[in-house]
Each structure stands twice: as structure tokens, then as C-alpha cells.
């Protein structure tokens, strides 16, 4: 009975089985200056599932995912209230260092953003800043992460060459490998395939399917077919609100809200 534990805007009760959930968002509001971008968001995100967030442009889906690892802090003039708990810890509290949160919660961006360093150094970077100096551990982790991101076979002969020599799809998988090196709990993906060609997109989607065995994945996508293909749960955002959050199957085949139905059947957005 997964759905009983799922929190929706219609069912504003706090989630009971907190330990199953990586993220619990309670009455989250967010403003960019005067613009009310997220309105009373309540979502419980379960571990080892792929949760897709869909919705038209400007609905707040990217804002929401960036709030989960507090990358939103980089935007000047952002105000929030409400709560986001990561593993029962308030992510906005002073005791929870933002660096620790971002170490446990990896992020893959819309456009591949490798560092202007070698492939090897791109992955070693995360380990080094967290104080891991043992060369053997680093080298092993680099290989493991590249294998984890299904990139090893393509780059194993040139891991000391610049990352910018890779194709866009390879760069995006390198960015995923860069996350995996820190063995995160959750991976946030903000439209990770929107800058990729169809073949690279397919590879990344296959990768997400494999990663979900070990990681909880939250993915923002404007591609509804992608959400339907890869996710277990789907949240539909509209104008800063969660219209509906349910199993992907229900959202795409039997949505409760007529707006969800209109959106997934392509009548707007």
C-alpha cells in the first residue's frame, strides 16, 4: 500500500513512516522577490525510487529540485518558509551544513558542466575536497564511478585527457559519475537530457534505471514520455503547486485531477 504513505496536497497529513522517506516537504513556500514561485508544497519522496517532476515551463519544478539541495540559495532575493526534511533533518537548520547536505545529495544539471580538468580529475575532485588523499582509493573510485555511469569502456584509455573532449552525452554521464564518486544517498537531476541527442538520452535513461537499485533519484523533466518510461512516482506541478502526486502509472493512465489529464494528453503546456 504505497499510496497511503504518499503525501499529496489534498491530503495534508504528515507522513507517518518517516524512515522510508528520503525527503519530506511540509508546507513549503518560496518567493523570488514578490513572485510566489512555490505554494504550499507537501511531498514525501521515498528511497530507492525514481520520482519524476513534470509540469509546464515556469511551474516551479526546477525551483523545487534546487531547493532540495539548497542550490536555490545562490539566487539573490529568495525567501522560503515551511520545512524540508532530509532523513528527518531540517535542511534549513543552522546545524545542518549545506556542504554536508550537498555531499549526501548529488546533482546533475540541465547542461553537462564538467570541470575544465581531465576526466580523472573531474571525478577525483569531490574526493579530494572531502579530504580523501589516498591515491589508490581515488583511482579505484574513479574507475568504479565511471563504470557506474556506464562510461568506463568509452574512456578508459584516455582518463587523463580533458573532459571537454568528450561528446555532450559522455560529458553528462561524466557528471553523473562525478556524483557517484561521493556515494550519495539521493541524486537530483534537473532535466538531465534536455541538451542531449536521442541516443545519448536513451543511454542516460538506461543508466537511471540501473542507478535506482542503489540510489533515490528525483528527476525534473519536461518530457512526459521520459517520465512515463523511467519513473515510479510522478508529481505534476502547475503554477507553483503540486496538482497531483501518485504512482506514474496512475498519473499517466488514470489521473485524479482534470488538469493533470489535460497536461499529459497534451492539451496545454
Amino acid at each position: 500500500m504505497a499510496l497511503t504513505a504518499v503525501n499529496t496536497t489534498k491530503n495534508n497529513q504528515p507522513v507517518q513512516n518517516d524512515e522510508l522517506f528520503v525527503y519530506n516537504t511540509k508546507n513549503l513556500n518560496l518567493w523570488y522577490g514578490d513572485h510566489h514561485a512555490l505554494k504550499n508544497i507537501n511531498l514525501g519522496i521515498k528511497e530507492r525510487e525514481v520520482t519524476a517532476i513534470i509540469g509546464p515551463s515556469g511551474c516551479g519544478k526546477s525551483t523545487y529540485i534546487k531547493t532540495l539541495n539548497r542550490m536555490i540559495d545562490l539566487v539573490p532575493g529568495v525567501k522560503t518558509n515551511g520545512q524540508i526534511e532530509y532523513r528527518n533533518r531540517d535542511i534549513f537548520s543552522k546545524e545542518f551544513l549545506v556542504e554536508e547536505l550537498r555531499t549526501r545529495v548529488g546533482m546533475v544539471f540541465q547542461k553537462p558542466n564538467p570541470f575544465p580538468k581531465s576526466i580523472y580529475e573531474n571525478i577525483a575532485f569531490g574526493l579530494k575536497i572531502h579530504g580523501i588523499k589516498n591515491k589508490q582509493i581515488i583511482t579505484e573510485t574513479v574507475e568504479k564511478s565511471l563504470r557506474g555511469a556506464a562510461l568506463w569502456d568509452e574512456v578508459k584509455d584516455r582518463i587523463h585527457e580533458p573532459a571537454y573532449g568528450l561528446s555532450g552525452g559522455q560529458q553528462q554521464r561524466l557528471c553523473i559519475a562525478r556524483c557517484l564518486a561521493l556515494e550519495p544517498d539521493v541524486i537530483l537531476m534537473d532535466e538531465p537530457t534536455s541538451a542531449l541527442d536521442p541516443v545519448s538520452t536513451l543511454k542516460v535513461e538506461e543508466l537511471i534505471q540501473e542507478l535506482k537499485e542503489k540510489y533515490s533519484i528525483i528527476i525534473v523533466t519536461h518530457n512526459m514520455q521520459q517520465a512515463a518510461r523511467i519513473s515510479d512516482k510522478t508529481a505534476f506541478f502547475l503554477n507553483g503547486e503540486v496538482v497531483e502526486f501518485d504512482s506514474t502509472d496512475t498519473i499517466f493512465n488514470n489521473p485524479a485531477d482534470s488538469r493533470t489529464d489535460d497536461y499529459i494528453s497534451g492539451r496545454f503546456g
Partner: protein
């Protein structure tokens, strides 16, 4: 034929006229010629200066032995009976000033650049950068008097053994002069590292300082080194500050507290004095100028090499 029968619309008429006049053809041929002449003028001027330097230097070496020039440890051209022309004291003077200026300006310049690009708010940056750039526009003679009448007395209160003319005060002020160059170019290099790279590092849990020092700084290294080389070149070629505040005593001593003379201030001394045309002293300024030119040329080559070698694509 349909088109011949038809009345041409005003736009069509104008287009017809444009393409029938042949003006476009001619003007497009003239433009590159004009631009080439402009380019040639500046290249030829540079060439002319270099050739003059070389020929007059050769004339100088007709009077003075080239071995003496490089090996003698003394620069004493004004002795009527026994002048000595060893370039080393002048080179040493220039190196002293450049070294002090660099040690002072590079750390401060880089710190300011990092602050402006990674930490300062947009508002602070908007106020501070133009102010620093004004500093770059202050005439060097003003800096020279600042060194002689403010910095030197201040330093002499702290260190009474410091002479009125010394290396430290003008060195520091030359450093102040080149800080804006280093800040401005380094800040440009740091700011042009894409925001997405910055976010990638932060999203891995690195702190602001780790992001700035381990990702952004290395990514901008080629621009930063180029800014340093440019700043150091300006220090080597700086004339007014050292002429006013460093003295005019060519010195082979490593001491920084006493009067010295740089290559540039020697040239000023001779050109503002009354060395007659055609005398050995007159030609000596070309040999010094040529040495100075070699120094700045080497710095330029170094800058080129650095920006190629350390370029990180993003």
C-alpha cells in the same frame, strides 16, 4: 518575360540601382586596402624603433667593448677620463624595483580579484572595479611624488636607517601602480569561468573557498598569469616613479635601503641632461634602451607561452 513587363516596386528599383551601380564591388575592394595600410603603419613604426635601437646600439659598441658591457660591475659613464659601462648595476636596479613591486602587488592583486569575482556582491563589484580602474589612470609622476613625499618619510619613521632615495619606497609604489592591471585582468579571467562550473563544484559539497581556489582559479590560470606578466612588464618599464624616488646612483650592491638607478631612470637622466649628440654617453642610452627592450620582449614571449600552455577550455 514576366518581369520586364512588370512595373518595378520602389524597393525593387532601389535594389536594382544598388546592384547596377557597382559601388558595392569597389568599396568592398578598397576597405581591406585601407585597413592594411593602417596595420602596416603601426608595424613599420615598431620596426623603425627597433631598427634605430639596434643601429645606435651597434654604434655604441664601436666605442665600448661588448665584453665590458656585460661583465663590468660598474656603470660610471660620467668620468671624463675613465668611464666604465657595465650594464649590471642598472639591470640590478630594475630587478630590485620589479621584485619589490611584484611581491607586493601579485598577492594583493589576486586576493582582490578573487574577492571581486567570487565573494563581493554585484553592488560592491560595481563600485570597486571602476575605482580600481581610476587608480590605473593616475599619472605616474603623481605616484612618484607620492613615493618621495609620503611613503619614503613614513618608512623612514619606521626604519630610520633608510636613505632618502631607496628601492623599497618606489618598489612599493610601483606595486600600487600595477595592482589595478593585475586585478582587472585577473577578475575578467575569473568571471569568465562559466557559472555552471561554479555550481557543479558547489553541488558536490565544496565550500565557496574550495570552489574558488580549486576550480575557478585553475580554470582562469592562463588569464591570471597573463595579467601578472603584463603587470610585471609595466614594473620593468616604469620610469617616472623610479626617477623621482629611487635616486640616480647605479649600484651593484644588493642593499635595498640605498640609492640606486634603473635602466629607465638612467635614460631619463641622460636625455634631460646635456650629453652632446654623438658622444658615447649619448649612444649609451640606446644600448640601455635595447637591453630594456629585450627584457620586455622576453616578458611578452613568456605571456604568449603561458596563455597557450595553461589554457583550459570551457
Amino acid at each position: 518575360m514576366k518581369t520586364t513587363n512588370k512595373e518595378l516596386s520602389p524597393v525593387q528599383q532601389l535594389l536594382e540601382k544598388k546592384y547596377n551601380s557597382g559601388f558595392l564591388n569597389r568599396s568592398e575592394k578598397v576597405i581591406p586596402v585601407v585597413l592594411f595600410i593602417m596595420a602596416a603603419v603601426s608595424v613599420l613604426t615598431t620596426l623603425g624603433i627597433v631598427l634605430t635601437l639596434i643601429f645606435e646600439t651597434i654604434t655604441f659598441f664601436g666605442d665600448v667593448s661588448i665584453v665590458e658591457f656585460f661583465t663590468a660591475k660598474e656603470w660610471y659613464p660620467f668620468s671624463g677620463t675613465d668611464p666604465v659601462y657595465g650594464i649590471w648595476p642598472l639591470v640590478l636596479g630594475t630587478l630590485k624595483i620589479t621584485l619589490i613591486a611584484s611581491l607586493f602587488a601579485i598577492p594583493i592583486g589576486l586576493a582582490v580579484a578573487l574577492y571581486l569575482s567570487e565573494y563581493a556582491s554585484a553592488r560592491t563589484r560595481k563600485i570597486m572595479k571602476p575605482i580600481l580602474e581610476v587608480l590605473a589612470g593616475v599619472p605616474t609622476i603623481v605616484y612618484g611624488f607620492f613615493a618621495l613625499t609620503f611613503v619614503t618619510p613614513l618608512l623612514r619613521q619606521l626604519f630610520p636607517s633608510l636613505e632618502l632615495f631607496n628601492a623599497i619606497s618606489p618598489g612599493l609604489v610601483v606595486g600600487i601602480m600595477i595592482i589595478p592591471t593585475i586585478v582587472s585582468l585577473s577578475e575578467d579571467a575569473l568571471s569568465s569561468v562559466p557559472e555552471s562550473v561554479r555550481q557543479g563544484a558547489l553541488a558536490l559539497g565544496s565550500t565557496k573557498w574550495e570552489t574558488a581556489s580549486k576550480v575557478i582559479f585553475p580554470a582562469a590560470l592562463s588569464g591570471i598569469l597573463a595579467s601578472i606578466v603584463l603587470g610585471v612588464s609595466r614594473a620593468i618599464g616604469e620610469t617616472m616613479i623610479v626617477s623621482i624616488a629611487a635616486g640616480s646612483t647605479p649600484s651593484a650592491a644588493l642593499d635595498l635601503t640605498s640609492s640606486l638607478q634603473t635602466m629607465t631612470s638612467y635614460i631619463v637622466q641622460v636625455t634631460t641632461g646635456d650629453a652632446g649628440f654623438g658622444t658615447t654617453i649619448y649612444y649609451s642610452i640606446y644600448s640601455v634602451g635595447f637591453t630594456l627592450f629585450v627584457f620586455t620582449l622576453l616578458m611578452n614571449i613568456l605571456a604568449q607561452f603561458i596563455s597557450k600552455r595553461f589554457r583550459e577550455e570551457y
